[in-house]
């Protein structure tokens, strides 16, 4: 990780107050992520029918921690005689005890999660991570992600694995999290998942479905935490239109200005959407574009849209050449709205190598727009829309993962 001169102070102030450094935040997140991911896994396992309880998994064993005296299941490969003592399972426990073994051992469970040391031991990680299951299961070994079926539904290869019920459950669970856990979940940076992806990306024999699903579940949980429960009709309509006409709206902002007057916009909307080929079609589209920009600008001004927590969102870069243009600038102002996702794999699934990734650091207090899943056909994209005229500054570079950390600051437009 490289941090640039004065920007180190900037990001410290913006993200961590006066007492924390960026690196200590990273360390904190890494440590806390174990617990968060451990908790999430317990929650998510309720939905993953293909995952066996630890007590029925032949690769796992029940041990007693010599220091704490607590019992829990670990992978057989993780058995350390200095630390663990073999334990004989009691006769059939009650259902509650069987289902929640991790509840009494939160500190130990994450030792088997990929979150612990993905960077240091990528070669060893697959042996114990859930994602590896997807690479070794005979029934899926020859299935490529393109054949998994989500693309035809969503247009994207990496999302769409969750159904409505899954999403509703995740929303409920996420909203029951403690504030501190919410904060750490929102700052979780998927490094372990990205490492798993990078390890096998391009290998057509590998099925990434489970890995994609895990990323989508975490992104959806994050989405539920930052999305207002209710949203006014105009914002809903404008954002829904923006989701379908992003390029057109942003081109207007970049190269021209919406020119219709408010009465003309209202007149066109009152008349309603014309039929295809109608001579009013052009005027109606212009009115919708202008309406969308006006309503989104207005929504970004509302207190309701301001973040309570710092968050991380993502956007990929198409090529090294495009990336270099951003690197050469180091800092830029974008006059258009910027579409980002809470899921770093959102644009993946097609190449031999993962695309360069921008990780946006969005401080608490920044206005963002999201649509609640019940009003959003594109919920699986976990979109976070940023206001126009934000300033973007490259704060750091993760060389191993080709990820750029970009600080987002609002209101730099003219």
């Amino acid at each position: 990780m490289l941090l640039l001169g004065d920007n180190v102070n900037l990001i410290q102030k913006t993200f961590n107050g006066d007492t924390m450094t960026f690196s200590s935040l990273e360390k904190l997140i890494r440590e806390e992520t174990r617990e968060v991911i451990g908790n999430l896994k317990r929650s998510f396992s309720l939905y993953e029918e293909d995952e066996k309880p630890a007590s029925e998994d032949s690769d796992k064993m029940l041990v007693v921690n010599k220091e704490s005296g607590k019992s829990y299941y670990i992978s057989k490969k993780s058995f350390d005689p200095a630390k663990h003592q073999k334990s004989v399972p009691k006769e059939k426990k009650t259902k509650t005890e069987e289902e929640e073994p991790a509840a009494e051992t939160p500190a130990e469970t994450p030792a088997e999660t990929p979150a612990e040391t993905p960077a240091e031991t990528p070669a060893e990680t697959p042996a114990e991570t859930p994602a590896t299951d997807t690479t070794t299961t005979d029934s899926t070994a020859t299935t490529t992600p393109a054949e998994s079926g989500t693309e035809s539904k969503t247009g994207l290869k990496t999302v769409g694995a969750l159904n409505k019920v899954d999403v509703e459950k995740l929303y409920k669970k996420s909203n029951n999290l403690y504030p501190q856990t919410r904060e750490h979940l929102l700052q979780y940076d998927y490094e372990d998942i990205i490492d798993m992806y990078d390890l096998r990306v391009g290998d057509k024999k590998v099925d990434f479905t489970k890995l994609y699903k895990r990323a989508e579940m975490i992104a959806t949980s994050k989405h539920s935490l930052i999305t207002p429960k209710t949203i006014d009709k105009e914002t809903l309509m404008a954002l829904g239109y923006y989701y379908l006409n992003t390029e057109r709206i942003n081109n207007i902002l970049r190269y021209s200005q919406p020119s219709l007057s408010k009465p003309e916009i209202e007149r066109q909307l009152k008349l309603g959407k014309p039929k295809e080929g109608d001579k009013r079609e052009k005027e109606y589209k212009s009115a919708m574009n202008a309406f969308t920009i006006r309503e989104m600008d207005y929504a970004f001004e509302e207190q309701l849209q301001r973040l309570d927590y710092n968050i991380l969102t993502y956007r990929s870069v198409k090529s090294e050449e495009v990336l270099q243009m951003f690197i050469d600038a180091g800092q830029w102002v974008d006059k258009s709205f910027v579409t980002t996702s809470l899921n770093p794999l959102i644009s993946e699934g097609t190449g031999k190598k993962r695309l360069p990734l921008f990780e946006f650091l969005i401080p608490a207090g920044t206005a963002i727009l999201t649509l609640p899943c019940h009003s959003n056909d594109y919920c699986h994209e976990t979109e976070v829309t940023l206001p126009r005229n934000c300033r973007y500054t490259i704060q750091g570079f993760n060389d191993t993962r080709n990820i750029y950390k970009i600080l987002v600051e609002q209101n730099y437009g003219g």
Binding site: L2, L4, G5, N7, E151, S152, K153, T154, G155, L156, L236, G240, L244, T246, E247, N251, R254, Y255, Y314, R315, S316, V317, K318, S319, E321, V322, M325, F326, I327, D328, A329, G330, Q331, W332, V333, D334, K335, S336, T339, T340, S341, I346, S347, T350, L355, F358, H374, S375, N376, D377, Y378, E381, E383, T393, I394, F397, D399, Y404, Y412
Partner: protein, 42 residues
Amino acid sequence: MADEKKIDTKDRDKRYTYTENDAKSIFQYGPTKKPIEKIEKK
């Protein structure tokens, strides 16, 4: 909106990817206001 069965699936990945056109349009506004030390990729 949520009741619609079919959703538009065309080019959804492009919405989350900076393309050459994005970069060109962003940098048409001239140099950044505050030049910073560039990052050199190894």
